[in-house]
Point group: D2
């Protein structure tokens, strides 16, 4: 059987990447794709990298009959667009941030600029789409909130340590991202000449991925959220996230014990692996892979964990397809077992 997939806003980078990955999916096919600014063009025309989709029209709305919908619209717009599909029984994966934060008022504070959530009734049932933590709930969900790219990297780096209780709840997440994280047509400030040969931090301790990280790590320790100081940085590359996470050790533990603990945690995860050497973002390019590397800094009683992923892969579209696979009850890894593009 081939499932029919629609993408709302295929013209953003996450939407384009979902279309790319779906091309070779064995059990799903892209049959509808929206994109206001390019409606009327065919997808393969509008984006030469997707030239193989020579006949698929970009439309204003999804009219075709679909089994699954991905949305990568901007915040608030996305929830509005997702809601009717959920209610009509279509499986929905929201790649935007609208259904991630569960606490009352959190959407208003962090996402909505004060405006209320567009579909508050759906918020409780939305499942946070990180299969390493929520595999069964995702499989049963009709609405999945796909993780943010930074939170995916940070949570996968820290989850084993948090659940095992080996670190104190005072966490630093220092994340470095390629520029595609800023989105397509992000314009001002992301011009090549300014961004090339430059590193800078932004939204220091004030980014809306901070509460997302805190919420999900909190869920691993009975709901009590840790303190998370989160600082994102832009580095001159297109794709990739490197999260370096720091937390004081709550008890003495050896490097070997930590490695065992991480390997146990991820032994059944098809896309997250534990490395004994520092991982490289480039080893995940174009894939749904995450590599984590925990290090005990015994001198200072600190746990350091480096994790890497492709912000458009495990950090967005790859993750979305993994979630789709689970929701459809097919092989979790279908269409996603790809070597990285290297060099």
């Amino acid at each position: 059987m081939t499932y029919r997939v629609g993408i709302i806003n295929v013209t953003g980078y996450a939407g384009m990447e979902a279309a790319r990955l779906l091309w070779n999916h064995p059990a799903a096919r892209l049959v509808a794709a929206t994109g206001r600014s390019l409606a009327g063009q065919r997808l393969g025309e509008a984006f030469p990298s997707l030239g193989l989709y020579e006949d698929l029209p970009i439309t204003e709305t999804i009219e075709a009959d679909v089994d699954v919908v991905f949305s990568s619209l901007p915040t608030a717009e996305s929830a509005k667009a997702c809601a009717p599909f959920v209610r009509a029984g279509v499986k929905v994966i929201d790649i935007a941030a609208d259904f991630r934060l569960k606490a009352p008022g959190a959407f208003e504070q962090w996402m909505g600029g004060g405006q209320p959530h567009p579909a508050p009734d759906l918020l409780p049932e939305a499942v946070y789409g990180l299969p390493e933590l929520n595999r069964d709930r995702i499989a049963a969900a009709r609405l999945v909130a796909n993780p943010g790219c930074y939170p995916a990297a940070a949570i996968l780096a820290l989850a084993p340590a948090v659940r095992a209780g080996i670190i104190e709840p005072t966490i630093v997440v220092d994340a470095k991202s390629g520029i595609s994280g800023a989105g397509r047509g992000s314009g001002g400030g992301f011009g090549y000449s300014e961004v090339n040969e430059d590193v800078s931090a932004y939204k220091i301790a004030n980014h809306n991925h901070q509460p997302e990280i805190a919420q999900e790590l909190g869920a691993l320790r009975g709901g009590e959220e840790p303190r998370v100081t989160f600082v994102p940085h832009l580095v001159p590359m297109t794709r990739g996230i490197h999260a370096t996470c720091y937390a004081p050790l709550a008890r003495e533990i050896t490097q070997a014990e930590v490695l065992d603990l991480y390997r146990d945690f991820y032994h059944a995860a098809p896309f997250t692996s534990v490395s004994t050497v520092p991982p490289h973002t480039k080893h995940t390019l174009g894939t749904n892979r995450c590599i984590v590397h925990p290090v005990v800094d015994a001198r200072n009683g600190m746990l350091v964990v480096a994790s890497v992923l492709d912000n458009l892969g495990k950090g967005a579209a790859g993750q979305a397809i993994e979630n789709m696979n689970l929701m459809l009850g097919i092989d979790q890894a279908a269409g996603l077992q790809l070597p990285a593009v290297y060099p």
Copy 2:
């Protein structure tokens, strides 16, 4: 049926890319891979980007029973390694340059530093592996000389014009290449800090891809080789070749006529397409695609053709797999219909 493939020197970039592309090939499987410096390790260990090959050992020589062999050894070594396989009836695609130049003495002059060809008896039967020109001969060959990355781009840019006789035989090929063209472990001179933010030409009018371009364009006009001034440049990116080709028009012709002529020439080619706008190397990243864009400079009576491809794709490993498909009698595009990784 699944054909069994071996790669000689999987540790070079072309070998690694062949391994990457074979992972999802529907009818072929990598069963043996050599690499002296890494022999003993498993492929997925040695190269994290190929982590999915967790069990395939890197060996010194190919012992397994194989149907096809790719070789990407250095010049002269490659012919030596290919010969026994050809003689044993294994289909061989030589990604190195050893079997490309046919003229007596050409190998000695351009490749061998004066030393003789290691397998001169096989030279006459080797077919130049550009399916856009030699599809049927490739299908019947037992030894294919895979094109060089620059010649692939230049020949595809110029072939329709040369065969139609619309240009004079005094050609300029100005080519820009990403750094991966210099090969893995190319060391000195390709360090990041030197190469980044730099453009330079090298081997001006003296690169061994010049006679290759001249030979194959000559074959399109009855064997009379055109004059080709070829200048390669390195630009600060990893993958991609952009060839800009110039030749005086031999007669008046309109832009529309040239476009028709190019489209006719490539109408059956699955991987080479004709664009009406300047093509971008990035639209071919990770694929076997070539995009050509001919422009009539009527003011000066000049034909300008821009062409782009991924030097490790259509310029090496992708092309090699396309040749393999033809040699095995399976779908020419098997395993190669991939959208580009973008952005």
Copy 3:
């Protein structure tokens, strides 16, 4: 004595670079700088790279008493802004393209989108500001048309050969430029994620620098313009131009003779040097230097000349200051003898 300099539109890259270079000029000082969008801010505040100018205000117009004015406004606006200063006896260097093309109708055709030149009376007296060709006329000028970045590289590559009559007048100029050539805030199409890891041509045989190159090379052969096919390309780096120029040799000549001819031509030029190896754009970064490298392709009877410069240095602001020095009668190299920033 310290001359007083004003910059019209300091907020463009050329204006910023002029300000940077003037900071350490021994005989000139920046005393006024305009920039509509940032008027009211101090220069050192608006641009942290120019933080040393902590007290210089950005204004709407130049009110201060000045000896020299640089303008880097957009086409047509620039001529309008320059004219009153020329008439008031202030030395003017127009970094824009307004005063470069001399032929009647050329401005309208190539620059003005059909609209007439804003100051046609000044056009005849404007001197093309390439000191290697017009040193004395620049020294006597009150209005200098600063060369375009591509023409500077192409003309310096070809001038000795054209003047000596060793090449046929059918020239190809294949130029590669860093992205800063597109200007600050050039927005759409120059976002990092699109431009990084990409090479593409644009305005093939249709760029307004083509007539500029033809005009100035024509002046070297009695006014008869050669045919120039000019194709610019964007490569993923911030600064730098590499022009590779091709022309059929008009007579037999050796590599040694060509080198002598080029060395003679440039023996008195402080900023253009002749190299016997392929030059690197990076060796000119941040400087007013141009390096040319002529090669006889004897096999094909072709002259190939590679030339490199920093598009904001010898291709814009550095050149403008060299012109200012000549116009003021001070040392031609004052303030410009800078090693390149490397690596």
Copy 4:
């Protein structure tokens, strides 16, 4: 008066940068430069970026009479080369790491691979060359240990907070460096194709800059060293360091109070400034500047400080010249007041 300067190992990046900066120094002149591999060549020949030094020979040892010597030899070799100059009364600035760590056994443990310090008698008198902390001692020194690039960024980020006692002594330093930090000819692992589009950490919590940071921050609090977890990362750019530093606040303090405290601390420093927005490495390119940006993360009781500098400028050669200026009793900023090269 013009002081005479020698550079030991001009062929490393720090040596080359010192030569670049000295070219325009008003009171010092490079008169001798060593470099074993290139001895016999002239400096301007060996390095086209330094073409202005057309007559300066690279020698094996410094024979000329000099007032000051910079050394940028590898560890241990440097101390050996510096010692005779110190003893002969020449001012010496060691850009290598040999004289930085003061604790007995620290050199052996962190630098020497177990071998003893080559000049232990000079270790006590060597002054750590960070003028923001040690201005007067540097001025009186005959031997200065120039700071490491990472420590310079980290210490300048944290010194005001440590001295004021507003943070707990459990510090995280997450640093991102351009690739030139790995040194010229660093070969294996720093090839363009591997490093481009990649971020990775290395020597996690095990880099020899960790004790250097701890030692100097300890000196600011009576010798009691804080715990410092230091993780360096490589990012795909040539120059620049971005250090992001984290420490728990020891008491409540507002953002405004912290800014005041930092501004007070650096009010007399010519090259370190306090920014109210996140700083960009690119705003320091080619300069001796450091920009620090402290942020109170009140939600988590954490101080975050971002700091940026050019690893070859304030992180090496610029700093060395600033130290030289102090040691010679001339203007601290002589030759170093340069706008950044931007974009």
